[in-house]
Amino acid sequence: MSAQPMTCHEVVEIITDYLEEALPPEDRRRVEEHLAVCDGCTAYVEQMRATIRLTGMLTEEQIPEDQKRQLLDAFRTWTR
């Protein structure tokens, strides 16, 4: 192997690049080699994936009715 094996700390710091598929192929391979033998980092990646999934269950704040009404009025005025 040309490069040093990655440490757990390094894996944790580039985990978003890994999940975003933004790593150069060589680095991606090093992360995958590390994950294949490291239960700690595997658990960490799973936590990150779960965090993303759970965050996706949040919903946006409701908009006050009067704001909506004002915008609808503006739309009506302009497109009439």
């Binding site: 978003t16 690049d17 658990a43 909506k68 915008l71 302009w78």
Partner: protein, 218 residues
């Protein structure tokens, strides 16, 4: 046009067509989908929530009036949020307000990853975990997706620096692509990813604290 821009999709063009025809349902759908994010983004550039509201109102007018000129050279979302950002930035400048990017991005706040979790250079296995993270796969799904968990995530996001919070909301709550987020917030590809990384790492950490509390209770 930057090469990050994606052309308007057929559904974007369809929406614009309906808006031009005065379709109120379509307009209100667009408001429902985007208003909260618009207000938060505007708020980053101006001094108060009230001014942000005015800015977004003005931006909507710009959007409505600009519909006829929309040529589909970017996605509808990108086009709308560019208008919001421009209006809000102009208002902020008029107010004499300038917030350094570093403070919005939280450059002075920790990354959410604590170096203490790892062995020091002088120890055996430098950079390795001192203690492995918990395996959440053993946590029952109904606890994991419970209301309290979601509330904790919401509070953790609220505490993030504004730009980190917004990148996370747009990407992970609303499901925008990284390109859309970069366009709306005027971020480089690297910056977008760094902010997302810090935000997700911080939220994961809060979630881990909460989930391990729960374990101790049992």
């Amino acid at each position: 046009m930057s090469n990050a821009d994606v052309l308007a999709s057929p559904s974007d063009l369809d929406i614009v067509e309906r808006l031009r025809a005065g379709d109120e349902t379509t307009f209100m759908m667009l408001v429902e989908q985007n208003q909260a994010a618009m207000l938060r983004i505007a708020r980053m550039y101006v001094s108060s929530g009230a001014v942000a509201e005015e800015a977004v109102q003005e931006a909507w007018l710009g959007i409505i009036k600009g519909l006829d000129g929309f040529e589909g050279r970017s996605s509808l979302r990108t086009w709308m949020f560019r208008i919001v950002a421009n209006v809000a930035k102009t208002r902020g400048q008029r107010e004499g307000r300038s917030v350094p990017f570093s403070s919005l991005a939280g450059d002075d706040v920790g990354s959410g990853v604590d170096p203490e979790w790892f062995r020091a250079a002088t120890e055996r296995f430098p950079g390795g975990w001192r203690a492995f993270p918990d395996d959440w796969r053993g946590i029952p799904e109904d606890r994991l997706i419970g209301n309290e968990t979601l509330q904790r995530i919401g509070s953790a996001i609220d505490l993030l620096p504004p730009m980190q919070a917004e990148v996370l909301r747009l990407r992970d709550v609303l499901g925008w692509t990284s390109e859309e987020v970069r366009n709306a917030l005027d971020l480089s590809e690297t910056n977008q990813r760094v902010l997302l990384h810090r935000a997700r790492s911080r939220v994961r950490r809060e979630l881990d604290t909460y989930l391990s509390e729960g374990r101790d209770d049992r």
